[in-house]
Symmetry: C2
Subunit: 225 residues, 2 copies
């Protein structure tokens, strides 16, 4: 479902150049659960943003379900971001003045979903936040905010979930619950890509791609745990 070839992403700061991605190629089959790992600053979020159609590479090709993403219209890309892909951001990207429930129903309001509040409530209950629905973002703990971001990414029933370090603020129990949730979403046929620093999260995934300094340095097959 995802075919990326030769992705390049460069930044210039002053007179030095950062090669955030260097000739990166990734293939992900439909229904796969893949981990992306690597040191801090190695290019994982940069890759995820390109796969999530939030950013475009300086070179290389990205085919999503056979479409060349670089050739799609703005409208088509927006539709893909809203309905095909659910993105859990590393820094959550929640709206500060809104409650957990309001944040999670937001993607549904764009498509005038009839039961937005009910669907949003169930998503929050599935991440253990049924008793925090009306707390605003400044009234929630770091790990609760992370779980609101996870709930929001699931709520449009996306075919692809991209999760950028979804358990960094969670204790091992809450982290384990999130991995079970991802497993059940994957069992429904969704494609799941998880950036993680946690080896136990990576072990849960059938495949693992390791990135270092903007390059893919290894592709690993795990026996499922």
């Amino acid at each position: 479902v995802i075919q990326a070839y030769g992705l390049e992403k460069r930044y210039s700061i002053g007179d030095s150049e950062v090669r955030a991605l260097d000739a990166v190629s990734v293939q992900v089959r439909r229904g796969e659960m893949l981990a992306i790992t690597g040191p801090s600053g190695s290019g994982k979020s940069t890759l995820m943003n390109i796969l999530g159609c939030l950013d475009s590479p300086d070179a290389g090709t990205y085919l999503l379900d056979g479409d060349d993403v670089a050739k799609l219209s703005g409208d088509r890309l927006a539709a893909i971001r809203n309905r095909k892909i659910g993105f859990v951001f590393q820094n959550f990207n929640l709206l500060p003045r809104l409650s957990a429930l309001e944040n999670v129903e937001l993607p549904l309001l764009y498509s005038a979903h009839r039961d937005a509040k009910t669907v949003a409530r169930k998503a929050l209950e599935s991440v253990g936040l049924g008793n925090r629905l009306h707390h605003e973002t400044n009234q929630l703990s770091g790990g609760q905010l992370q779980r609101v971001a996870i709930a929001r990414a699931m709520v449009t029933n996306p075919a692809i979930i991209l999760a950028d370090e979804p358990t960094g603020n969670l204790d091992s129990h809450a982290g384990g619950e999130i991995m079970e949730l991802f497993h059940s979403l994957n069992a429904q046929g969704r494609t799941i890509i998880i950036v993680t620093h946690d080896p136990s999260v990576a072990r849960h995934c059938r495949g693992e791609v390791r990135i270092s300094d903007g390059k893919i340095v290894a592709t690993v097959r795990h026996n499922p745990v």
Copy 2:
């Protein structure tokens, strides 16, 4: 150096009450390195904010170096926050339009420090960001932002460092380097309190306080690793 007795913190949302802290008492000796652990939402950040003089409890007493914090003037509290305590925030709290270097030198500018840029640069080098000094916060990875927050907390040479989940966005190598840094700061006599979800970080600390649902449920002594 830290003596807290019977701390209470309550919030009202709608008609329900959240007891974020419930009769919490903690004593920390000078030069100790202590971990605070517990599930997401259990009250760790709430406790850290009170210990860091950023928030006040609804009940209970907090003595810092023998002073009753509730009785100190606004000026005295500001001086303590700027010079005695270095705080690494769970959500970093960096200034968006500023570079890594500018963020880290900010606490030094308040006290008109003569060599602010040099001290800030060395702090960033000590967390592996010597080649990212001039990147602004939106040009840094999640783990790089976390390390900028750590550098900023060290730069005023504080006697007490409070770090709220300082390795959540770091791979195990970078996380290990941060723990070595904390160890060397502790060896210089500084008191270090680390909130963490990472058992390997907790094992590095001589003592561990476990919190659940706003209450302290265990105090553990580790043999040093």
